[in-house]
């Protein structure tokens, strides 16, 4: 079976304990979550989460249905089959002495990344892009010696004017989409 990384976005009420509830479901039901990014959304009081689930190891439909039972999750959508942009940001602290700094900068330029800090022995590289781009620059920088790495995990949004999650302001009643009628989309599936 082909590995399908599902990108799921959720609007959640910004209340204490919400992450605990979500993590509790993941843990209890044995869902394998590859990345998670959380921050404010355009709606006051609602945070937006983007998480990535490996469809080969985890029943994505169960993930979304179980998560939707959390009262504070207001809306969810699986963007995997949508026309979307997905990005992550990484900070990479890489060895760069005066002798090889030029070579490091060359790699950074090729990837249209930025150097945002410099010291006599190292630089911090900031790179933004899809995961494979981050993986690629990491591969190129590895020979110089990576001292530290942090990745945000994927954030995603559908292209075009429509919102990634419909009706966030006044959540609509959820409806089950019959099996076989198009791809399961969480917003309408539940």
């Amino acid at each position: 079976m082909k590995t399908v990384k599902h990108t799921i976005v959720a609007l959640v009420e910004n209340k204490p304990g919400v992450l605990n509830r979500i993590a509790s479901k993941w843990r209890q039901r044995g869902f394998n979550i590859e990345s998670l990014a959380v921050g404010h959304s355009e709606v006051p009081g609602l945070s937006r989460m983007t998480f990535v689930v490996d469809g080969a190891t985890t029943d994505v439909e169960q993930v979304t249905k179980q998560l939707y039972k959390i009262i504070e999750i207001v809306k969810m959508n699986d963007l995997t089959d949508e026309d979307m942009v997905a990005r992550e940001l990484a900070l990479i602290k890489v060895n760069a002495t005066p002798a090889n700094r030029g070579a490091v900068i060359e790699v950074v330029d090729i990837f249209r990344a930025d150097i945002i800090d410099v010291s006599p022995e190292s630089v911090i590289v900031q790179v933004t892009g899809a995961e494979d781009k981050v993986d690629a620059i990491l591969e190129m920088l590895r020979p110089y010696g990576i001292r530290e790495l942090v990745r945000t995990g994927r954030v995603a949004m559908t292209r075009g004017a429509a919102a990634s999650i419909e009706g966030a302001e006044g959540a609509k009643p959820i409806r089950f989409r019959p099996a076989g009628e198009g791809k399961a989309r969480v917003g309408s599936l539940l």
Partner: protein, 574 residues
């Protein structure tokens, strides 16, 4: 109107129509108890252990359909509720638990009797709250009742620090609440209903599998109409018992691990399962890959997460069972399935499943069957968990919804005594039988005190086989009969009953069974009967763990069991 937090909670409970609260006070919830006397319409029942408060509220909710309420203090009070909350969670029972918490400035400092009960109960509540602002209290209580009682019901916990209970504020009762992230789907999708009707019309060997959802949704009439119109046999899960009249010719009893043999065969041979308000528990399905191999499946449930969780249905319908069935009944074609019913009847004749051997032994099944025979159609039956529970379920063929109260999903031993208490508080004038095993009974028997204190006329039948019987049965069958830690010492139940203030009776042979039951029912107060039954009797039919329904063992032995090594006099402490 200015009220303090505790008064706000009580005011909200009164407006929700709460009549009974089961609870136990302590330092952190004392303000709540201080507010109680101002609400004489709400009865508070002081339990002897918080687990009993939760189970009693749970059982009260099951039989009344209202939201059960229990109180506990912080720390150990709250953690003692946990088993009861988990029980309500697994069986989808509407319940609101209100716990005291240490004062806000001590939270997180490991204060005396502090426990992170909201953290602890996240996986076993539909939702929970730690209320840190007295102005949010009224809305929170209102929302908690709404969440507990709507959609797929479940327990909700509200944790309130003592100082929040003591703060004063202007009371505003929220008339309307609309949680943004909670809109249960109650109407089935018409296209899906139409497809379901089509499948039913095409089916030759249909079976209805009805669960707790039918009772929770009060869809008994709709279920009956559907079964009769399309002429489909009805099999009820353990928690579904009572959702369809037991005396109806289309009623087939329970399926699954200790269900009727003919039902397991019917499911295996059927070409269509209409699963209604049930969740394909592993005790129902047996080995899941061989479950109903020839059947298409219609799955009706209000919880979308149940659809496809264990079994992938052909036609899923998310919605409230009552609404979906009403729509479905209109669309199904009248049909007859006489040949199919005759096939099930044939299996039933060959494998009668619940025959009781005619002999001198005092068999547990005999006792339980006798209780049903003598108690009439209006009684309530509460069970613990174990062999006695399975026998009680097998022989329950009652007509009344909600009259069989048992712990299904969690299988909580010790549910029996407090649950019987909850049922009797709900229906003080009705006959309530508490059918217990000696193992189950000994887990919560301290609350006999509460029962005697409130003069609840519960009739306790202890099916006393001197063992943790179900565990012993598994040791016998699957662990080479090496009986380790399942032989159980019991107190002298007659003396124990007398000590608590109940009438105690002991029954040791068949001839005494009916007279003892009748005597218990005649007595106006609580009675405990110690039925000293055969120790080594096994519960059949049985689907061995890991086997498929087709491999159900009906009755390996019909003859009298060999005399068992149970009950010697020295077991009773002098």
């Amino acid at each position: 109107m200015k009220l303090n937090g505790a008064q706000i909670i009580m005011e909200c409970l009164a407006r929700e129509g709460t009549e009974v609260i089961f609870g136990l006070p302590g330092g952190a919830n004392l303000p709540l108890y201080d507010a109680l006397p101002s609400y004489p319409q709400i009865k508070h029942v002081l339990v002897r252990h918080e687990q009993c408060a939760a189970h009693a509220a749970d059982a009260y909710a099951r039989v009344t359909g209202k939201v059960g309420v229990c109180f506990a203090t912080s720390g150990p009070g709250a953690t003692n509720l946990v088993t009861g909350i988990a029980n309500a969670w697994m069986d989808s029972v509407p319940m609101v638990a209100i716990t005291g918490q240490v004062v806000t400035w001590l939270i997180g400092c490991d204060g005396f009797q502090e426990a992170d009960i909201t953290g602890i109960t996240i996986p076993i509540t539909k939702h929970n709250y730690l209320v840190l602002d007295v102005d949010e209290l009224a809305y929170t209580v209102r929302e908690a009742f709404y969440l507990a009682g709507t959609g797929r019901p479940g327990p909700v916990l509200i944790d309130v620090p003592r100082d929040v209970m003591q703060q004063q504020t202007e009371f505003h009762y929220p008339e309307k609440i609309e949680p943004r992230g909670y809109r249960p789907t109650v109407q089935g999708h018409p296209t899906q209903v139409k497809k379901a009707a089509q499948l039913i019309a095409e089916s030759e060997r249909p079976v209805i599998l009805a669960g707790h959802g039918v009772i929770l949704s009060r869809a008994n009439d709709e279920l009956r109409a559907l079964a009769e119109k399309a002429h489909m046999p009805v099999i009820a899960t353990l928690l579904g018992l009572g959702c369809f009249p037991g005396s109806h010719p289309l009623f087939m009893g329970m399926p699954g691990m200790h269900g009727m043999y003919w039902n397991n065969i019917a499911i295996t041979e059927s070409d269509l399962l209409v699963a209604i308000g049930m969740r394909f528990d592993d005790r129902i399905t047996g080995r899941i890959k061989d479950f109903a191999p020839h059947a298409k499946i219609i799955h009706i449930d209000i919880d979308p997460a149940e659809i496809g969780k264990n079994i992938k249905p052909t036609v899923p319908i998310v919605g409230d069972v009552k609404n979906v069935l009403s729509a479905l009944v209109e669309q199904v074609e009248p049909a007859r399935h006489d040949a199919w019913l005759e096939r099930i009847a044939e299996v039933r004749r060959e494998h009668p499943s619940i025959l009781i051997p005619e002999n001198e032994c005092l068999l547990p099944q005999f006792v339980i069957k006798k209780i049903y025979e003598l108690s009439g159609p209006d009684a309530y039956y509460v069970t613990g968990v174990g062999q006695h529970q399975m026998w009680a379920a097998q022989f329950f063929w009652g007509d009344k919804p909600n009259s069989f109260v048992t712990s299904g999903g969690l299988g909580t031993m010790g549910f029996d005594v407090p649950a019987a208490m909850g049922v009797q508080f709900a229906y003080p004038k009705d006959l309530v039988w508490c059918i217990s095993g000696d193992g189950s009974f000994q887990m919560t028997l301290q609350d006999l005190t509460t029962i005697v204190e409130h003069e609840l006329p519960i009739k306790f039948a202890i099916i006393n086989n001197g063992f943790l019987g179900m565990v012993r049965q598994w040791q016998t069958l699957f662990y080479g009969n090496r009986l380790v830690s399942t032989r159980e010492f019991s107190p002298d139940y007659v003396k124990l009953a007398e000590g608590f203030g109940l009438v105690g009776l002991r029954v040791t042979d068949r001839a005494q069974v009916a007279p003892a039951i009748e005597k218990a029912m005649r007595h106006p107060g609580p009675v405990l009967i110690d039925f000293q039954v055969e120790g080594m009797e096994d519960c059949y039919p049985m689907v061995p763990p890991g086997a498929s329904l087709a491999e159900t063992i009906d009755q390996p032995k019909i003859e009298a069991p060999a005399s068992s090594p149970r009950r010697e006099k020295e077991k009773v402490r002098p």
